[in-house]
Amino acid sequence: MPTRASTLVIGALSAVMMSYTALALIPGFQLSTVEATPERIEYTAAQARGRLVYQREGCLYCHTQQVRAEGFGVDQARGWGSRGSLPGDYVYDDPPLLGSMRTGQDLHDIGHRVPSLEWHLTHLYQPRALVAGSLMPAYPYLFEVRDPADVLPSEVTVALPRQYQPGDGKVVVATRDALDLVAYLQSLRVSPVLQADGGTAPTVN
């Protein structure tokens, strides 16, 4: 018995440790020295909170955050980024929310593409108010419906087409979660990278 069983144990363990080394340890080592791309800085408190909202609501199951390089798909032709995403774009992302499904658009450069706070708030409250036929869920629980008299000057109300307004003269007010989430989305920008000769590289392979 020891002969056969130990062959199995040693063989199976070695096999899995080899692939673990190749796909987890070596990339960890190789990518540990990557520096953040220009304009990538630590998230502000609001953006970090917003990132947690993104994570908790599972936005990554429909949205990716990886602009593909030229020649593999047409992400850049779609206006989803001026260059392919690079490892340096994810240095402050723990965990990186790369996503794996594009039921919705790629969002890695959404901060450039749609910078408007107002647009995002309306879209989060009711996506179909802005994009007819959208499959995206609505997030009314990130908002509060209130009497206009109860809205503080510092708070943000959501602009809505008449048919999506709550009625009874009430307004929709963004909660802190909604504002933080938009702050995070606005921070998602893929900026050009400087090359050694001073030129900017839209794409680095």
Partner: protein, 497 residues
């Protein structure tokens, strides 16, 4: 044992008769020892199947009707989707796998299960961890890491459970009464070693930054290939010869299939990040190993097909065999598609599309789950001493499951190609792509309803088998088969004839 273990001179699919252990008596002894642990894991698995199916329908219909129940945070698609994955992967198929594995282990080693209480404790820990974890996801506590969305604590319960089962299995192995370890024992032993390893390294030694993504997909893909696959193949390697009465076509091919799976599969996971912001060598390696997976997939396919040759008529009377063969064929299909799918020309079209959902369900449902259904239809009567109450319902389950998953896979694959080709045309507005998905997503939801109905049928049949009405109990207890101590046949038609 006081002599070295050698494989028998003539390798056949069936283990040699063990010296000095008379007739079928040892089977009853072994089945008595595995009865409670296996039935506990089976019942847990089916409960999670029902929960996971309900959550799946919720998720599916939310994509068809996005404003449905939109006010409930716990039911939003982004929370329900990972909850579904955990309930079905770590719940249904993993727990069913453990139940089947424990039964096979004791039977193939021809010795009663040792450490039954370890396995029972494991079931309690596992259910607790999963319940806490799935609830946490719905409550907004997702970690944001795909396939690992439950909080760490929940996973540690499951790891502890796996280790307890592993201890029981090693303990049982020490007391084996066979001269040769059949190929299924290899697959099961390896799977039992791999799964805790995967969880432990990815949870307790996480990588930073982008390497976290590569480690993540190494893990997630290996759950399918180094845990679900070995258990599924071990089951098929046992049940196909067992029900047809024929030995495996080529034992050497079986060994080849095992070792190439072990050596190649682990390197394929990064194909989930095809085209992503990774060092090129990682993608190249994953593509190469994904293609090399053709070797174990074909080895297994040849073995099963050649073993079945001349016995395909048995599919008519044995529903258990039907489930297992459907699963085995699905393994071939998902394996071959997977091997070529990682190539850039294919990935460029289907990456990020419904094709991935189709492929995932082809693997975990059409392959792993169908084999699990077949195995449970075979195993449970042997533990309870009672046959299934209604052959018609068993058949219904099969056809609903087989038909449902085939249509779902086909619809989502077509949807994936359509979606992918549209994504590649920058002129097509994105909202158009989402709109053209709608009919396919509706097909997905409807087939999901059929699959779920099948699950309820299965759960009902299991309930009736474990706790039949007193009238049924009397009828079954008086059969000659029971009195002879003969183990109950899985051929329903013969029984009702």
């Amino acid at each position: 044992m006081n002599h070295p273990i050698q494989p028998p001179a003539v390798l056949t699919g069936l283990p040699p008769k063990s010296p000095g252990i008379p007739g079928y008596a040892w089977r009853q002894e072994v089945d008595r020892s595995t009865r409670l642990p296996v039935l506990t894991f089976t019942a847990s698995a089916i409960a999670w199947l029902l929960i996971g199916s309900a959550i799946a329908l919720l998720a599916a219909f939310k994509l068809d009707f996005p404003d449905w129940l939109a006010g409930q945070a716990a039911l939003t698609f982004g929370r329900v989707r990972p909850a579904h994955l955990h309930a079905t992967i770590y719940g249904w198929i993993s727990m069913a796998g453990v139940g089947i594995m424990v039964w096979l282990w004791a039977r193939l080693l021809k010795t009663p299960l040792r450490g039954q209480w370890l396995v029972l404790t494991a079931a309690v820990l596992w259910n607790t961890g999963l319940l806490v974890g799935v609830t946490a996801i719905l409550a907004g506590g997702s970690t944001g890491v795909e396939w690992l969305e439950m909080p760490l604590t929940a996973f540690l319960f499951i790891v502890a459970a796996l280790l307890l089962v592993a201890i029981a299995m090693v303990w049982t192995l020490i007391h084996h009464r066979v001269e040769h370890f059949y190929i299924s024992v290899w697959y099961l032993g390896a799977g039992m070693l791999w799964m805790p390893f995967l969880l432990l390294v990815v949870l307790l030694a996480p990588q930073k930054g982008l390497a976290q993504a590569t480690a993540n997909w190494w893990f997630a893909h290996n759950v399918v290939g180094l845990w679900l696959t070995p258990v599924g193949l071990a089951t098929a390697y046992y049940l196909i010869p067992r029900i047809t009465g024929k030995p495996i076509y080529s034992y050497n091919l079986a060994y080849l299939g095992f070792w190439t799976l072990a050596l190649f599969f682990g390197w394929t996971g990064v194909h989930h990040l095809a085209g992503g912001p990774l060092p090129q060598w990682l993608e190249a390696v994953s593509i190469a190993f994904s293609f090399m997976m053709i070797i174990p997939v074909v080895a297994v396919a040849v073995n099963f097909h050649k073993t079945m040759t001349g016995s395909f008529n048995r599919l008519k009377d044995s529903v258990a065999l039907r489930f297992v063969v459907f699963g085995a064929v699905s393994y071939t299909v998902v394996g071959l598609i997977g091997a070529v799918q990682s190539f850039r020309v294919y990935q460029e079209v289907v990456h990020f599309t419904q094709h991935t959902v189709a492929h995932a369900h082809l693997g975990v449902y059409a392959f792993a789950s169908m084999i699990a259904f077949g195995a449970l239809y075979h195993v449970v009567p042997r533990l309870t001493g009672r046959d299934w109450e209604s052959s018609r319902l068993v058949n219904l389950h099969f056809w609903v499951a087989a038909g449902g998953i085939t249509i779902q896979w086909a619809a989502l694959t077509i949807a994936g190609f359509t979606q992918g080709l549209q994504l590649l045309d920058p002129v097509i507005p994105f909202v158009e792509i989402a709109r053209s998905l709608k009919p396919w997503l509706l097909v997905r939801s409807i087939t999901g309803v059929f699959l779920t109905a099948g699950h309820f049928v299965f759960a009902w049949l299991l309930y009736r088998n474990v706790r039949p009405s007193s009238a049924v109990r009397t009828r079954m207890n008086s059969t000659a088969a029971q009195e002879a101590g003969f183990d109950v046949s899985a051929t329903i038609a013969q029984r009702s004839a």
